[in-house]
Each structure stands twice: as C-alpha cells, then as structure tokens.
C-alpha cells in the first residue's frame, strides 16, 4: 500500500458503483477504463495531490474499498 497517497483504493474490492465519485468535494474520483477480476470498472484518483483527505469517499463507499490518509 502506497503510504504516500492520500487516498488508497483496494481495487479488487471495488464494484464500480460510483457512489464515491458523487461525494468527492473536489471531484477527483473517476472510473477506470480497466476492469478488475470481477469484471468491474473500478474507481481511481489520478490527481492524488488534489485530495483534501476529507474522507467523504470512504464514508460513502459500501464496499470498504477506500483508505484515506492525512498529513499529520
């Protein structure tokens, strides 16, 4: 797990429901072109640095896909 990132997706758990995308206040979550082994287009954040570590996405995610880290 890349501890440098603010927001980490366990993409194999992601079911591509898009709920996280709708709650991100800075709108940086998008769905990948690729599918995971279950056939789902998973969620990803490309511009990690824009993330404000608000945790909204993790709060909303029904599949406990997301971990969020904050600068201490």
């Amino acid at each position: 797990m890349e501890k440098q990132q603010s927001v980490v997706f366990d993409i194999e758990r992601c079911k591509g429901c898009e709920l996280c995308t709708a709650v991100c206040p800075v709108d940086i979550i998008s769905m990948s072109e690729e599918i995971n082994s279950h056939g789902y287009h998973y969620a990803e954040v490309k511009e990690q640095k824009k993330c404000i570590s608000c945790g909204m996405c993790a709060t909303m995610c029904p599949d406990v896909v997301i971990e969020v880290y904050k600068e201490e």
Binding site: E18, A22, P62, D63, V68
Partner: protein, 248 residues
C-alpha cells in the same frame, strides 16, 4: 500520514457479496466501527437475519448466530438471557423484521430485552428478487405489486419504528439514512447510542436505517441514492423517535 478512514477491525477481510452500490455495505461498516469504538469485539454476539444480509456472519468478526427468517429478536433473546453480560445485536431487513418477524420484534421491544437492533429498511425483499415489503412505498412497483403498491389491497407502508415507540420496553428508537456522508455520520451516531443504551441496561433499542436496493429497484446505484433521498424519507421521516427521555 495518519489514517483518517479505513478498514474497521471488527470486519473480516471477506469481500461483501452485496450488489454494486448496495448500502448494506455502508451499514455493515458503521456497525463494525461502533463495535471497535466501544471495544466490544470480544464481548459481542451478533445475530444475522435471513435476507441479503444473511451472510453477515461472514463479515462481522465476532461470534455470530444465523437466525431463521424474522426470528432474530427471539434468537437474540435466547443468547442474551444466557449471557446477560455480553453485547447482543440483531441485523435485520424489512421483510425479516417488519413482516414475518413482527411478533418477535414487538415482544422483544415490549420486554425491554437488552438487545440492539439494526433494522435495514430498503422497502423491498432484496434477497428473494424484489417482492413487495410491508415497507414498500405507495405505488412502488415490485414483482408482487407489478402495477404499483395499492394500499387498499396490500396495506400501507408500515411504520414499525413509530409503532415500537408505543411499547414501554423500548428505550431508544431512531430512524436514519445513509444517502450521503452527513447522514451516514448521523446514522453511526444513532447506532452508537443504541449500543450504549444496551450497555447501560436501559432497555431495547433499535435504529432503522433507510437503505437502497439498486438491483431490485431497477436503478443505477446513484439513482437509487436519489430515490431514497427523494421518496423514502418522505414516508419515513428521520430522527430520534424515542429516547430514554421521551417520545419525539
């Protein structure tokens, strides 16, 4: 970097079998987080229902008992009476709790049974493929109300939580929703409060959580969230319905 959101301790690492976007998963996480926060993991016995959350016993990393359909409150009563010093909760759907299990939940509440119930109301029978639930909304189309629920024939969306407030044994009854992060946080607070009510020996507690069923509502997950917000809450108003201090 400090972790501000992550995987709760009281969940196994088994992936949920729920459909994409099904908010059962959110509610599972909240329950696990509260178990973590109250340090209950080693004194909890959870009771899983029959419904989409039947496999809850695979997810909560605590002692679990899979009940028969609707009877989770009776099973929980049996457990709690044997282990009065342990924490016992049931996790039940609306078919389970508001239909077949009506008598069991009413009497557990009336006995002031020291158990906590998480009542997931998604206005439908998810597991069996989308039949009408007693909580389905007026006009809602389901496989057994294909022309929309006709309240004259099929009855009204049942207000279990309101009904349970009338019983002297219920100490805390609340209705919450998980359609956005703000409400999710409120939901968690209510669940925590309900668990504390049990720990304090105040009586029966129940949190009704409005939840989605994108699959059987026939909607995309995001649309389901909207439908919950715009339709369900109208019929099922949110808030604390009864607290140890009084009825709302």
């Amino acid at each position: 970097m400090k972790k501000v959101a992550g995987y709760p301790d009281s969940l196994t690492d088994k992936q949920f079998h729920y459909c994409p976007g099904c908010t059962h998963g959110i509610i599972h996480r909240l329950v696990a987080e509260v178990i973590d926060e109250l340090d209950l993991k080693e004194k909890t016995i959870g009771v899983a229902p029959v419904g989409c959350s039947v496999l809850a016993y695979e997810y909560f990393d605590v002692d679990m008992h899979e009940a028969s359909h609707g009877r989770a409150p009776a099973v929980a009563t049996g457990i709690k009476r044997v282990h009065p010093d342990k924490f016992v909760f049931t996790y039940q759907g609306d078919g389970d709790l508001a239909s077949i299990g009506t008598a069991e939940i009413v009497h557990a509440a009336n006995r002031g049974e020291l158990i906590s119930t998480v009542f997931v109301n998604n206005a439908i029978y998810g597991m069996t493929g989308g039949q009408m639930a007693p909580t389905s909304l007026e006009g809602q189309r389901t496989t057994t109300s294909p022309f929309g629920r006709d309240v004259k024939e099929a009855g009204f969306p049942i207000k279990m939580s309101e009904m349970l407030t009338e019983l002297d044994g219920s100490a805390y009854i609340a209705r919450v929703s998980v359609h956005d992060p703000k409400h999710i946080r409120k939901a968690k607070k209510a669940i925590k409060k309900s668990f504390e009510i049990q720990l304090e020996g105040k009586g029966f507690s129940l949190v009704e959580v409005l939840s989605t069923c994108p699959t059987n509502w026939g909607m995309k997950p995001l649309d389901a969230i909207e439908w919950l917000k715009n339709n369900m809450i109208k019929t099922y108003p949110l808030g604390d319905l009864k607290t140890p201090e009084g009825v709302e």
